[in-house]
Structure formats: structure tokens, C-alpha cells
């Protein structure tokens, strides 16, 4: 599953935690940090300049385990933390558009619906059609829901106040790699100057750059059942869409809202430069 970036993100995150813990331990014992912050900024990721962690620090293991557990808790809480921001992002009587099924978005909207009354338009998200369960969940949460077909995104966009979607991955350039259909959705939102919010926990921030986005799935899922197309017809459906950073208004993360142009900074906080090329 080369398109799954989250495991890689977690590994890189753990590396960062380990190095940080090592540094703090040494700093505590040494009185000086192994690598100052200013030094870190100048590390050349290309050289793979791994710190030489040769010192034996007995309590390091415990501290690392503790930090990892803390990180785990953070990951587990991320959905809740994102959902908490619903009220500050949605005002009453708003028309929200979303596409496909994303538990993060669902939690976000459901939480916001407790204090706000708004209308959600769900695009069904064609090859997977997981907008259907999304619509069902939303309406069972008491939210006025309208399910539309994908091609009606553009016509409906003129009435939409906000677009809120989830994502598979946040790329290092601030773009996102997400479900098929997000690109037309985002460009329609851009056309109508509708803000597009992406609900994503920070662990989906990836060091992957945009070139690696495309993975093609089986075209058989999109061919109508009763039509037997000849083999000469090229039938392909992509697995993910790439939404360029200029079409994304903001990321709603478990920490705070992050603009696409600020993603690089978030990445440098999340991951150690030595793991950039992992």
C-alpha cells in the first residue's frame, strides 16, 4: 500500500520523539543540548546527518515509552479535538458541502450540530459512493442533509458557504491527497470563492511531495455493469485526487487551524530532519 503515508509518518514521528528525548536527557545531565534549535535548522537533510547517540542513558527507555504513550494519546484524542472546533468554524443556518465519508468530518459536523443549525450537502463521491453512509449518519445526527450526485457539485456550490472535507494525506507543499472527486470539488469551491476546510489530524501531515500522488485503481469499478466495453477502451479510475494548496483555505488540525503555506513549519516541528528522506 504505497499510498498509505500515515505509517511512515508515525515512524518518522517516533524517531523525532526518540531524538528529542535523548537530547533532553543529555541536556539534563550535561547542562547543554546535544543540538541546539539553531543547529537543527541547519542540518542538511540530504546528508542524512544522524546524531551520534552513543551515550548510555538508563532512564531513556522509560522516558521514550512515556513520550510515545503521550503521542498515542494525542493521536487518539485528535478527532475529539478537531470536533471541538466545529462551533468556531460554523455559524448558524450555514450551508456546508462535504464529499464522501470521513469520520473526522462527521465528528466535526455532529459536534457542531449540537449548538448550530445548518444544512449539509453531501456529494456521494462517485467510485466509492460513500457519501451515502455519510448522509445517513448526518441525518441520524439530526442535521438537515441533502445527498447529491457528484456532477451536481458545481451547480450547488453557488449556494454553499463552506466546504469541509477530510483527507488521506497532507502533502509537504500544503496540497492534499484525498478521495477522487475532491479536485473538481475544490476547483468549484475556488471558482465560487467558497472556503475549503480540510479536517486532518497532525499525524496525516506527510513529508511526501506532490509528484507521488497518483495511483490508479481498477477501472472495472466505474464501468456500468450491463455495458460490455471492448478492451480497446481505456478505462481507468484514479485512487486519489490531488488538490493543490491554492485551493485549500485552511487545515483544521487537532492543534489549531493551519494555512497550507504554513504546513512546512508544522512538518519541521513534527519530524526530525534526519528522517526526511526515510
Amino acid at each position: 500500500m504505497p499510498w498509505e503515508t500515515t505509517p511512515c509518518n508515525m515512524v518518522q514521528r517516533v524517531i523525532k520523539i526518540v531524538i528529542d528525548e535523548y537530547n533532553t536527557c543529555r541536556g539534563a545531565s550535561d547542562g547543554g543540548g546535544y543540538q541546539g534549535f539553531s543547529q537543527m535548522m541547519f542540518v542538511d537533510p540530504a546528508s542524512g546527518d544522524l546524531p551520534e547517540c552513543t551515550d548510555v542513558i538508563p532512564e531513556l527507555q522509560d522516558r521514550i515509552l512515556e513520550a510515545v504513550a503521550e503521542h498515542k494519546a494525542e493521536v487518539e484524542q485528535s478527532q475529539e479535538l478537531i470536533a471541538l472546533q466545529g462551533e468556531s468554524k460554523i455559524h448558524s443556518d450555514e450551508v456546508i458541502m462535504t464529499c464522501g465519508m470521513c469520520p473526522m468530518v462527521l465528528a466535526f459536523l455532529t459536534k457542531a450540530a449540537r449548538r448550530r443549525k445548518f444544512h449539509v450537502i453531501v456529494a456521494e463521491c462517485a467510485p466509492k459512493h460513500d457519501g451515502h453512509p455519510m448522509a445517513k449518519s448526518l441525518c441520524s445526527a439530526g442535521i438537515q442533509t441533502t445527498l447529491i450526485q457528484d456532477c451536481a457539485v458545481f451547480p450547488m456550490m453557488s449556494r454553499v458557504n463552506k466546504v469541509i472535507i477530510g483527507t488521506q494525506t497532507v502533502l509537504s507543499n500544503g496540497g492534499i491527497k484525498t478521495f477522487v472527486g475532491a479536485a473538481p470539488l475544490a476547483s468549484a469551491a475556488k471558482f465560487y470563492s467558497v472556503p475549503l476546510y480540510v479536517c486532518t489530524p497532525t499525524y496525516k501531515f506527510s513529508l511526501v511531495s506532490s509528484e507521488e500522488v497518483n495511483h490508479h485503481g481498477s477501472g472495472s469499478t466505474i464501468v456500468p455493469q450491463d455495458s460490455n466495453l471492448t478492451s480497446s477502451v481505456n478505462v481507468v479510475v484514479a485512487k486519489f485526487d490531488y488538490v493543490p494548496p491554492e485551493n485549500v483555505t485552511s487545515f483544521i488540525t487537532n492543534n489549531r487551524g493551519i494555512a497550507p503555506s504554513y504546513v512546512y513549519r508544522q512538518l519541521s516541528e513534527l519530524y526530525h530532519p534526519t528522517s526526511y528522506d526515510l
Binding site: 451515502h132 441533502t146 447529491i148 456532477c151 450547488m156 473538481p184 477502451v233
Partner: protein, 863 residues
């Protein structure tokens, strides 16, 4: 519940129709009378007991006096005429005020005299309405109110409108034909009271003996009472006597000898009429009971006992259609009292009648909402009164008090209405008091009692009002809403009424309003209903309509061609009736056909243009042209239209577009389009090697057919989802789509999804070329896709191709908060369109108005 009601209602309607013819005849004289009435006034009163009436007239000399003479005049008229008058009177009475009901009740009890009395009463009421409008204004609050409604209603019956049209009309009709059961046709509010009164007059004819038994004086008194009540300022000794007498009469007479007679009369008339319809009514009775129970638990109990009468009233009420549940509820209490005939005293009945009249007044006066609310309140009040079984006077007073009391607790609208009502009531009371010493005494008594009562009832009324209102609103929100519009439509013809009924029926389950898209016609899987043996729709049109509904004929071009073919057939089979202009008659007969097509599926703009063209042709036919020649001309015009605009146009467009395509181009298109296939073919024929990317949506997957045809042509084809085109856009060199229509402002209406292709094309700097016949140009300007659009079958979205989620939302119609929408069109803004390829040339979108002005001004400018 609904179906039984409907059936019941229908029957009454039919009767009403028959009656209408009679009533129409009867009613017609009444309007004529009105002007002359005042002159005839004094003399005509044929009723023996009515000697009093003529006297008051001269005394009064005011507005109402003319009324009495009018009454006299109608009485002088043939019995049939009288009956219609009565009906009109009754209706007006219902509208007017409390005192009238009492009069009516007494009137009916008395045999022949009552007829005259009733007629007189009617006249009084009528006179204000029909006759001197100016007088009305000066007259009491009561009189003006009735006048306006009366005038309205009076006209419809004359016209012979269907009984359904208006409640009042219905009452008139019912009354007019004595044979028919008056109860059923009676109006909602005053139905029970009025019915009784009417029945009595009616019944007296069949059973003169009984009538004779009753004292003639009572009728005269009743008449006088009415006049008095209506004329507050006029204080005649006679009137005073009559008023007091009337009130007393109502109680004493009903209780005394008259009671027995009255009851018997009622029972006879009612039974005769009722029994026939008992079966139908039973269902209604049950309905009413339920309603009553919902509204008021305790009160309902008494009502429950008497089911049959309630059913009658309900039928009368329902007479118009299902919408009338609220009125039925209001009526139900009075009906209950009527049911109790044998059991309860006349007082109660009268009180109920008064309540109904009040309710009617309130309705007329106040807004629709207020009306419904008032009805409810009145109903409540009536119930309370029934429970206590107080004397008539007390009850009447209580009614007024109740209405007043309710004011503070309730909404402003209600308050206003109540105040009006109360004022009116007071006015009547005052007139009574002034007129007669007895009346004064009684009034004083009443006031005392009222004061006491108000204190008692205030609390009760408030509580009950709140409860009942809540319950009623919850139970019959739609009914109330629907009913109000119906009233407005009373004057309209039967056809409209039926249409509305049907709409309301069909809307019942699916009247949910889709947010943002409530203005679009909801998709229905059923073709529009047609009356049985309807010959206005040509079979070819009917077939085509169903085909379009099932999407067998789809796409704007195909729809236009087949529509024109069907209409050609229609014109072929058309025969101009004698003494008719072909152009006018044909255009008229064309309308229902077009409407049917529109009902099957909302018209495409191109279809609309084609039909406009046809109408234009029809209108421009010389009146003296022989039919055969005219039809020939029309047929050739249609053929030429199809040939020039569509067939030749397509090939010209293809050649134009082929010129834009270069060797090695990758063309992105959307769905199935015969025109695009033609273009690709033309490009291939010119020796250009092209490959085609077909974007498709799952609903319907028409692109698959397109891909098959293209690959059969030897063209390299790609099949993509519409949402997935961004991944292939970098390969695409041109986007070519066909338009459904092009707007005046250059916006392109296409199948839903075209706009997102245009957007993708623009973001990738790819030319977006639109193919369009100029006959699809429309002199309308659209800037967004939702204003003019069509809703498709949402179930196709529900049953998506996905294995996991297919049919997940099957029951979406049961979910209040969930809507599934399938838009058919979208509109691409002109700024996204690079070029417009028409049969005339390749144009920028800014040239559209020029083409419209040059070629289609005569057609498109018509409307």
C-alpha cells in the same frame, strides 16, 4: 382516512353540481332583486307572521330595512327561488353573527312562517351585501362583514360554479334543492345551525302539518330578531319585542311544543337525507370523533355519542376536499349538539350555531391563520358551554366573553379578530337592548353573567386553547394551511378546484420541501392524472409524454423532434369545429397537449422554443384560410423546422467543429451526444486522427454507449468518471460538449456535469467548445444553475452502482432530515466557454443575443 373522505366529498360535489344548476337559476333572480329589493321590500313579505317585519322596515329606514323588503321580495318569488335565497341567507347568516343563528333555529321550527322568516332573515343579510354597499359601510360591524363575503359568494352561485368553489356556494346549493340533504351541503361553520334552520324550512314543505303546529309568531319574531340584530341603531318597539321574543322564543318554543315538532322535523329531514348517506358518513364520523377527541378530551365524550350527525356535518364540511378537516372540527361541536337534538335543548343548539357564525365572521374578518384559530377557540367555547348546559342567553354571552377572554392569552392576530368579533357581538347586543325593554333586561342579566363567566372561563379557555391549539396544529397543520387557500379559490372554477385537490392529495406524502430547491417541480414517477375519457390529449402526445417520462426519449434534440412529430399528428387529426377560427381553436386545443407533455417531464428550453414556433405559426394563419390548406401549411412548417434547424443544422455544426479539430487532438466530451459523434466522424473524414475521452456519470451511464459507438468508428477512446477527469486533463487538448440550451447572456445549459468539465478545462487552459443549434437559444438570462432546473429521479442516486452502499438510503423519504437530489441540468457561466459552434458559424458567447435578435425575435419575443 383520506381516501374515504375524498369519495364522500365527491358525491356531495356531484349533488352540488346538480343543485348548482337549480340554484344558479334560483340565485340569478336574487342579484337582480337586490337593486329593486328596497322598493319591493315592505310589500312583498308574504309570510303571515311577518307583519312585524314590514313595520320595522319603515321604522328603520336605514340600511337594514331595505334588507327586509328584499327578503319579502324573494319570498314572493317561487319556492325554488326562495330556497336559493335561503341558502344564500344561511351562508351569510353564518358569516354574520350569533343572533341570526338563534333566529334561524327558531325559524325552522315554525312551519310555513319559518320559511318566510328564514327567507326574511336571509334577505336582511343579503340586502346589506348585494344591495346598498354604501349602506353596509355605515351599518354595524356585523353587516359589513357579511356583505363582502356575500357579494363574493353570491356571484359565484349565479355563475353556476361548482359547489366546491366556496363554502358559501355550497350552502346555497344545498339549500336551494330542497330534495337534497341540506345538511351535507351546508357550509362548514354555520352548517349545523343553518342546516337545522334550512331543514325546517325545507321540511315544512313536505310536512305542512307539523309546520302549522308551530306558532307563526315565532317566525315573525325570528325575522324581527334578525333584522334587529343586524340593525343596531334601529330601535323599534316591534323590534324590541321581536328581539326579546326571539330569544325567548328560541328557548321557550324549542323547549315547548315547538321542541317536539322541531325535533321531529329535524329528525325526519335529517334522517331522510342522512340515512342515504349514512354509510359514507360513518367514516367521516369516525374521523370527526378522532379529531374531537384530540382537541378536547372531555368535550369529545359528549360528541362521541352522536356519530351520525357529526358525519353529516363533516360531509358538508369536507364537501370541498380533504383540506377541510379543520372546519370539520369546528363544526363538530355544533353537530354534536344537533345530534343531541332529542337530548339537548334548543338553547344549546342555538349557542352552537352562534358560535359557528362567530367563527365564520372571524374567518372572514381576520387572516387565514386567525380564522383557523378562531374556529378552534369557538369550538372550545362551544364545548365548554355544552358541558355546562347553560341557558341560551348565557351561552351567547359566554361566547362573546370567551372570545374576548381569549384575546389576552393568544396571539395578536387572534386578538384582533376577537376584538372585531366581540365588537360585532356587542353591537348586536346593544341594538337588541336599545330596541326592547326585555332585551335590555336580558342584556343586563347577560352582562352580569358574562362577568362571572368570564372569570371562570378565562382560565379554562386559556388552558384549553393552548392545549387544543397545540394538538390541532400538530394534528392538522397541513389541513389548516390547505384550507385557507381553498377559501380564496372559492370563486374559481371547478377545474381549478379539482386540480388543487389533486395536488393536495398527491402532495400529502411527498410535500417535503427540499432546502434550496423547493422551487423546482418535484419528481414524480407517476404521469399526470387525466380525467377519464379525456379527449383533449392526442394519443400521439400521450404516448410521447409517457416515453419522455420514462426517458425513452431523452436529450433535447430527440425531445424536440418527437414533440414536433406528435404535434404534427395532432394537427393532422384536428378538425376545426363549426363557427370557430382554426388558428384560435387550434392554439387553444394545443395548450392541454403541451401541458400534458410538461406534466410528464418539465419542458426543455429547446422544446419550449419549438412549441413557441408552432404557436407562432398557428397564430399567423389567416382566418379565412381553408382548413386543409392551413393544416398543410403547418405540417410543412414543422417539417421545415426540423429539417432546417436540426438535420441540416447538425451537419453544418459538425463541419464547423471539424474545422477546429487538429490532427492528434484528444477530445474530452461528456456523456452521450449524437452531435459530438457527428463531429468526431466529420473530423475523421477530413483525415484527422483524434482520440476521445468520454467522461461519464453513473446516472445514467450514457457515456458507455458513446464509447461503444466511437470505438466502433476506430477512434481511440478513454472512459473516465466525470470526477476523475483531472487526471487526464493534461492529455486533453479540447473539450467538446453539446449544449441543451444557450442563454441570452452566453451561459450554457447542459447536462449536469458539463460545468465541472468546463471548470476543469479552464483550469488546465484547454479550450471548451460548445456545440449548439441556434434554435436552442433562449432569450432568458441565467447566472446560476438552480433557478431553472429539473429534478430527476432521486432513486437512481439511491441505487448507486456501488455494491456496498446500493440502496442504503432506500427509505430516505421517511427520514425527515434527509433529501436526495438529482439535478438534471447545470449552467456553465459564459466566462468558461471558449467558443460556441452553431450552424451559422463559430461564435463567442457574446454573440448569442445577436443571433436571437436576428433570427428568433418573432418567436422568442412573443411571450
Amino acid at each position: 382516512m383520506a381516501p374515504p373522505e375524498g369519495s364522500k366529498r365527491r358525491k356531495p360535489r356531484k349533488r352540488s353540481k346538480k343543485r348548482t344548476s337549480q340554484s344558479g337559476a334560483c340565485a340569478s333572480p336574487s342579484p337582480g332583486r337586490i337593486p329593486g329589493e328596497p322598493l319591493q321590500g315592505g310589500g312583498p313579505v308574504s309570510v303571515p307572521s311577518e307583519v312585524e317585519v314590514p313595520k320595522p322596515v319603515p321604522l328603520v329606514a336605514g340600511h337594514q330595512q331595505p334588507n327586509t323588503p328584499e327578503k319579502g321580495s324573494p319570498q314572493s318569488l317561487s319556492p325554488k327561488k326562495r330556497t336559493p335565497q335561503r341558502s344564500a341567507l344561511s351562508a351569510r347568516l353564518v358569516k354574520t353573527g350569533q343572533p341570526q343563528p338563534g333566529v334561524c333555529a327558531t325559524g325552522p321550527q315554525q312551519p310555513e312562517t319559518p320559511k318566510g322568516g328564514t327567507s326574511n332573515v336571509v334577505l336582511t343579510k343579503k340586502s346589506p351585501l348585494n344591495g346598498p354597499v354604501s349602506k353596509l359601510g355605515s351599518a354595524k360591524a356585523d353587516s359589513p362583514k357579511p356583505k363582502s363575503p356575500n357579494t363574493k359568494f353570491s356571484s359565484p352561485p349565479k355563475l353556476g360554479l361548482p359547489p366546491e368553489a366556496s363554502e358559501n356556494v355550497i350552502t346555497l346549493e344545498a339549500d336551494a334543492p330542497l330534495e337534497l340533504p341540506p345538511q351535507q351541503q351546508q357550509t362548514k361553520v354555520g352548517s349545523s345551525k343553518n342546516q337545522q334552520s334550512h331543514r325546517k324550512p325545507n321540511s315544512p314543505q313536505p310536512t305542512p302539518a307539523q309546520d302549522c303546529i308551530l306558532p307563526p309568531i315565532t317566525t315573525s319574531q325570528l325575522l324581527t330578531l334578525e333584522t334587529l340584530s343586524s340593525f343596531i341603531p334601529v330601535v323599534g318597539v316591534e323590534k324590541a319585542n321581536s328581539l326579546s321574543d326571539v330569544k325567548e322564543q328560541s328557548t321557550s318554543l324549542t323547549k315547548g311544543t315547538s321542541d317536539a315538532n322541531f325535533i321531529t322535523l329535524k329528525s325526519e329531514g335529517d334522517k331522510g337525507i342522512i340515512m342515504s348517506e349514512t354509510n359514507k358518513l360513518d367514516n367521516l364520523c369516525n374521523l370527526l370523533e378522532n379529531i374531537v377527541i384530540q382537541h378536547s378530551g372531555k368535550e369529545a365524550m359528549s360528541n362521541n355519542t352522536i356519530k351520525l350527525p357529526v358525519a353529516q356535518t363533516s360531509q358538508t364540511i369536507t364537501g370541498p376536499p380533504p383540506v377541510k378537516v379543520p372546519p370539520s372540527t369546528t363544526d363538530s361541536p355544533p353537530t354534536t349538539t344537533s345530534q343531541h337534538k332529542g337530548e339537548k335543548t334548543k338553547e344549546e343548539i342555538e349557542c352552537e350555531r352562534k358560535g359557528r357564525k362567530e367563527a365564520k365572521k372571524a374567518k372572514k374578518k381576520g387572516g387565514e391563520k386567525a380564522k383557523s384559530e378562531n374556529d378552534k377557540e369557538n369550538y372550545k367555547n362551544i364545548n365548554v358551554e355544552n358541558k355546562k348546559k347553560e341557558s341560551q342567553e348565557e351561552k351567547v354571552m359566554s361566547m362573546a366573553t370567551n372570545t374576548q377572554q381569549i384575546q389576552p392569552g393568544d396571539q395578536q392576530g387572534q386578538l384582533q379578530q376577537h376584538t372585531k368579533l366581540s365588537v360585532a357581538l356587542e353591537g348586536t347586543d346593544q341594538s337588541d337592548a336599545a330596541g326592547k325593554s326585555k332585551a335590555d333586561l336580558k342584556r343586563e342579566r347577560r352582562e352580569k353573567q358574562e362577568a362571572q363567566r368570564q372569570a371562570k372561563l378565562a382560565a379554562k379557555a386559556k388552558q384549553e386553547a393552548e392545549k387544543q391549539q397545540k394538538g390541532q396544529e400538530e394534528a392538522h397543520p397541513s389541513n389548516n394551511k390547505i384550507r385557507l387557500p381553498q377559501k380564496k379559490k372559492k370563486l374559481e372554477g371547478e377545474g381549478l378546484r379539482r386540480l388543487k385537490d389533486r395536488k393536495s392529495f398527491s402532495k400529502g406524502p411527498s410535500d417535503r420541501r427540499i432546502p434550496l430547491l423547493g422551487h423546482l417541480t418535484p419528481y414524480s414517477s407517476q404521469p399526470p392524472l387525466l380525467p377519464v375519457n379525456c379527449d383533449t390529449i392526442h394519443p400521439a402526445v400521450r404516448t410521447l409524454g409517457l416515453k419522455m417520462k420514462d426517458r425513452i426519449v431523452d436529450g433535447s434534440t430527440a425531445r424536440v423532434v418527437s414533440t414536433l412529430a406528435a404535434l404534427k399528428q395532432f394537427i393532422h387529426d384536428y378538425r376545426t369545429p363549426e363557427s370557430c377560427d382554426l388558428s384560435r381553436d387550434l392554439a387553444e386545443k394545443l395548450l392541454p397537449n403541451v401541458a400534458f407533455l410538461n406534466g410528464c417531464r418539465p419542458q426543455a428550453i429547446a422544446m419550449d422554443n419549438a412549441i413557441r414556433f408552432l404557436k407562432h405559426k398557428i397564430n399567423s394563419i389567416e382566418p379565412n384560410m381553408p382548413e386543409a390548406q392551413a393544416k398543410d401549411e403547418l405540417r410543412t412548417a414543422i417539417d421545415e423546422y426540423v429539417q432546417d434547424n436540426i438535420n441540416l443544422g447538425s451537419s453544418t455544426i459538425a463541419s464547423h467543429a471539424a474545422m477546429l479539430i487538429q490532427d492528434g487532438d484528444v477530445i474530452l466530451t461528456f456523456g452521450y451526444s449524437a452531435l459530438v459523434i457527428e463531429v468526431v466522424e466529420a473530423a475523421c473524414n477530413v483525415g484527422r486522427r483524434v482520440s476521445v475521452v468520454v467522461a461519464d456519470t453513473p446516472y445514467p451511464p450514457s457515456g458507455a454507449a458513446m464509447v461503444k459507438i466511437l470505438s466502433a468508428l476506430g477512434v481511440t477512446t478513454y472512459y473516465r468518471l466525470i470526477t476523475d477527469v483531472t487526471h487526464i486533463m493534461h492529455k486533453v487538448t479540447k473539450v467538446v460538449v453539446e449544449a441543451e440550451a444557450v442563454m441570452m447572456n452566453g451561459a450554457v445549459q447542459g447536462m449536469c456535469g458539463t460545468a465541472s468539465l468546463a471548470l476543469a478545462a479552464v483550469t488546465h487552459d484547454t479550450p471548451f467548445i460548445v456545440l449548439c443549434h441556434t434554435y436552442k437559444f433562449c432569450n432568458n438570462d441565467l447566472t446560476d444553475s438552480l433557478v431553472v432546473n429539473e429534478l430527476g429521479d432521486a432513486d437512481r442516486v439511491v441505487f448507486c452502482p456501488s455494491r456496498d452502499y446500493c440502496g442504503l438510503l432506500v427509505d430516505w423519504r421517511q427520514m425527515q432530515k434527509l433529501n436526495v437530489v438529482s439535478l438534471v441540468y447545470d449552467v456553465t457561466p459564459a466566462c468558461l466557454v471558449t467558443a460556441l459552434v452553431t450552424e451559422q458559424s463559430v461564435l463567442p458567447t457574446s454573440a448569442v443575443p445577436v443571433i436571437i435578435r436576428r433570427n428568433y425575435a418573432d418567436i422568442l419575443g412573443q411571450d
